[in-house]
């Protein structure tokens, strides 16, 4: 079961802050971040990679993207 972070409607740096908080202190090995703009998608992906995580999958559905992150 993966932890879901809903970052829709939020602008930077909130989606990245929420993602990094979860990477640091969350217990789930997999995190799904839902964003609704390209800038947030790029920023969350970049931040997760910089923390040694793997981007398992990104699914796009209309305006929304679901980023599945595996903790490193």
């Amino acid at each position: 079961m993966s932890k879901i972070i809903d970052a829709r409607g939020l602008s930077c740096p909130q989606p990245v802050l929420m993602t990094l908080d979860e990477i640091k202190s969350g217990t789930d090995n997999e995190i799904q971040v839902i964003v609704d703009n390209e800038a947030s998608k790029e920023n969350v992906t970049r931040a997760a990679k910089s923390k040694g995580c793997t981007i398992k999958e990104i699914t796009n559905d209309g305006d929304e993207s679901k980023i599945n992150i595996l903790k490193g």
Partner: protein
């Protein structure tokens, strides 16, 4: 969709370099000293052109601001990123815009101009940039403690079109009422007869250059405040590399064009009161950090349909009115008669916003 080159490290560096070179060239072609591009100063000039303040030396409908928004609008449409949205604490953003402008005008420049001043050899900019970093640092402390302005909502396409259309309207006004030699007014628009507002590159060049910058800045998410914020908050240097590229390439171009004049004294549109250069920019940095973007980034966001960013820009334009009507803006002679009081009030307002808007977001 293919990979967005401009969002890569090389992309953001290229964008910073292009902005640095073009800003220095715009100065060569007529824009004021170390002010090839200054988002705050140019919005202030627009406020003057519209008569929102009557400081006669800073009145001009700057095409650069118009071009930034329309260029971003075009890029957002072209790459399917136009996303009309609104409703994330607009009034708070408006007030942050007012004090961001007041802080910037106490220093005499936004972060863009701060680095262009540095690239022109104006060492007062170092004091300003230290102030900017300090203000952003305070903003980061708030962010770490849960500060946020809440979620925005998707809205009708028309709402996202409003701000770009206002910019088109400004351009149309400028074409209907062009500058007339020796006249301080043309139709409804005010024009400066001397001072920085009188100095400008040819309209068409300013417009084309800024359309291009607006386009690539939207693609790259270029942000001067974000450059320092991401470094302090996450230790990330992505945006910072674009910011540094801007300094290096503007500096190099200035040296080549003979526009590099190192020193503290007698710099164009600048003063040497260090404490207020520092604190003015610290206030601006804090306001930009709390609002989530530098003044340029706010224009690019407004171009891609973000009404809340547009409200921040309108706050800055209104702030310019306050700054010049109330004697808050500095001049080469030093700080304005009420500039210090305004900075103190601005910090109080920003701290109030930072401490009170901390609702924990449910994930």
């Amino acid at each position: 969709m293919g990979k967005n080159f401009f969002s890569t490290r090389r992309g953001i560096i290229a964008v910073g370099a292009i902005i640095g070179i073009l800003a220095a060239l715009l100065q060569k072609l007529g824009n004021p000293g170390n002010m090839g591009i200054c988002v705050a100063c140019f919005e202030r000039d627009i406020a003057g052109a519209l008569g929102f303040h009557r400081a006669s030396v800073v009145q001009y409908m700057r095409p650069e601001i118009i071009g930034f928004v329309i260029g971003s609008f075009a890029a957002a449409y072209g790459f399917k990123e136009f996303k009309p949205r609104c409703g994330s604490a607009p009034m708070v953003r408006f007030v942050l815009g007012i004090f961001a402008m007041i802080g910037a005008l106490v220093f005499l420049g936004c972060p863009w101009r701060a680095v262009l001043r540095l690239a022109g050899g104006d060492w007062n900019a170092i004091v300003g940039l230290l102030g900017l970093a300090s203000g952003i640092y305070i903003g980061v402390l708030f962010l770490k403690n849960g500060y946020n302005l809440g979620r925005s909502q998707s809205t009708h396409a028309g709402a996202g079109w409003i701000f770009p259309l206002i910019m088109v309207g400004f351009l149309v006004l400028m074409l209907i009422y062009p500058q007339v030699d020796g006249e301080n007014k043309s139709g409804v628009l005010f024009y400066s007869l001397k001072g920085p507002g009188f100095m400008h590159a040819p309209i068409l060049i300013s417009l084309l250059v800024s359309l291009g910058i607006g386009f690539i800045a939207q693609r790259s998410r270029f942000c001067t405040m974000g450059a320092l914020r991401d470094l302090i908050l996450f230790g990330q240097t992505h945006l910072l590399s674009g910011f540094l590229a801007l300094v290096v390439f503007a500096l190099t171009t200035n040296v080549i064009l003979g526009q590099f004049h190192p020193g503290f004294a007698n710099q164009p549109v600048a003063h040497t009161v260090h404490m207020w250069n520092f604190l003015g920019m610290a206030l601006a940095g804090l306001a930009f950090a709390l609002a989530g973007g530098c003044p340029g980034r706010q224009l690019f966001l407004a171009g891609e349909g973000d009404s809340d960013a547009a409200v921040f820009v309108m706050g800055m334009i209104v702030g310019a009115g306050f700054a010049h009507n109330f004697g808050l803006a500095s001049s080469p002679k030093g700080v304005g008669p009420h500039g210090i009081a305004a900075v103190v009030v601005g910090f109080a307002v920003c701290l109030f916003i930072g401490f009170t808007m901390r609702k924990k977001l449910s994930v």
